[in-house]
């Protein structure tokens, strides 16, 4: 199909979708007049039932905890997928060497040495970032945040180290094996908390820990534990992704130099 035919087809169908959609949206409750019962029910009972003040985290890790378990494993599996896709392939070593350099000129360049300003700034930021990430992970039940958000912040710390130094420093700070183990522990922790609910004769992912005082960091029972586990898993997963992509980029650069 030529680009022209494709564009014409697209414009026609896009216009149709846009107007049919707007027509359908007119049947929705008016904007700003939310009517569904679930949000209101959780806003009424959430704080009393779970002793968590951030109800988005309460929904994620408790009321909808089973779905979030699935979501966490989507992340887990996609990290495995990226690692598989970017692995060193046997035929790569010989047949790529010759033409890689002339096909992508940018690969022929050396990576520029990071400037002093970059080094100072990034290294000064690493400590505060780690502290901030841990804060976001552990305060998910109290204020906006939680395992997913904090995990991503934590994962940026090794990336800053890479910006300031090179891949070797990155590897030393976040060794592949250690990160892998951390990620696996994070994923297992979620399932273990779920099974703990069953062990007590309750349901999978039932909140079995003492709920504590609302507003304290050790409140909300299993929500805080799951949040910490997810934080570990997300941080580990993202660092593994960086490992895969960086290794790939470095091996290409190395090959183009030979």
């Amino acid at each position: 199909m030529s680009r022209r035919v494709r564009s014409v087809l697209f414009v026609g169908s896009a216009l149709a979708v846009f107007f049919v959609y707007l027509w359908a949206a007119r049947g929705l409750p008016r904007f700003g007049h939310y009517q569904g019962p679930y949000g209101d029910v959780i806003n009424q009972v959430g704080v009393f039932e779970r002793h968590a003040t951030d109800l988005v985290t309460a929904v994620n890790f408790d009321y909808r905890g089973f779905d979030t378990l699935g979501e966490e494993f989507i992340l887990f599996i996609s990290v495995i997928g990226v690692t598989l896709l970017l692995r060193q392939q046997p035929e790569e070593a010989k047949d790529e060497q010759d033409n890689m350099a002339k096909n992508d000129e940018s690969l022929g360049r050396d990576a520029p040495e990071p400037s002093d300003a970059t080094k100072v700034m990034t290294l000064a930021l690493v400590g505060p970032l780690v502290a901030f990430g841990i804060y976001i992970v552990t305060h998910g039940q109290l204020s906006p945040g939680g395992g997913f958000q904090g995990g991503v912040i934590l994962a940026t710390a090794p990336l800053l180290v890479y910006l300031a130094g090179d891949y070797k420093t990155f590897q030393r700070v976040a060794s592949h094996t250690v990160v892998e183990i951390g990620e696996a522990i994070g994923a297992c922790a979620y399932v273990a908390v779920g099974l703990a609910g069953m062990a007590g004769g309750g349901l999978f992912l039932q909140n079995v820990l003492p709920l504590g005082t609302t507003g304290n960091i050790n409140s909300a029972g299993t929500i805080a534990v799951i949040s910490a586990g997810v934080g570990l898993e997300v941080a580990g997963g993202f660092v593994l992704l960086m490992h895969s992509f960086l290794e790939q980029a470095l091996s290409l650069r190395l090959r183009s130099k030979q």
Binding site: L22, Y34, G36, D54, S78, V79, G81, V82, S143, V152
Partner: protein, 114 residues
Amino acid sequence: MSLLPFAIAAWLFIIGLYGVVTSKNFVHLIMCLVIVQSSTYVLLLAIGYKVGGVAPVFAGVKVGTPAVDPVVQALMLTDIVVEATVAALLLALAVQAQKRFRTLNPDKLQELRG
């Protein structure tokens, strides 16, 4: 006026799809796909919004204050995580395409196969 947030979601969806359809570079295509997905954030948040409602975080706020729907916000969080993982997988595929076919142009890729 009350249709505006829904119209913005539709516009994001369509403009992202336009980018996907006309893209000449896989990395650009993946970013367009991310824009398509971001339309669902606008839609979800628009559905859960309540005039005068506070964020569903009851730290320092009396319980019973009208607040927006926390369920759609949690769904949106799920959406963001899935988007990030899908983007990572697709970018890995783009790296493979560059390595195997020496091009990131979807049209050229077809020519090579044919």
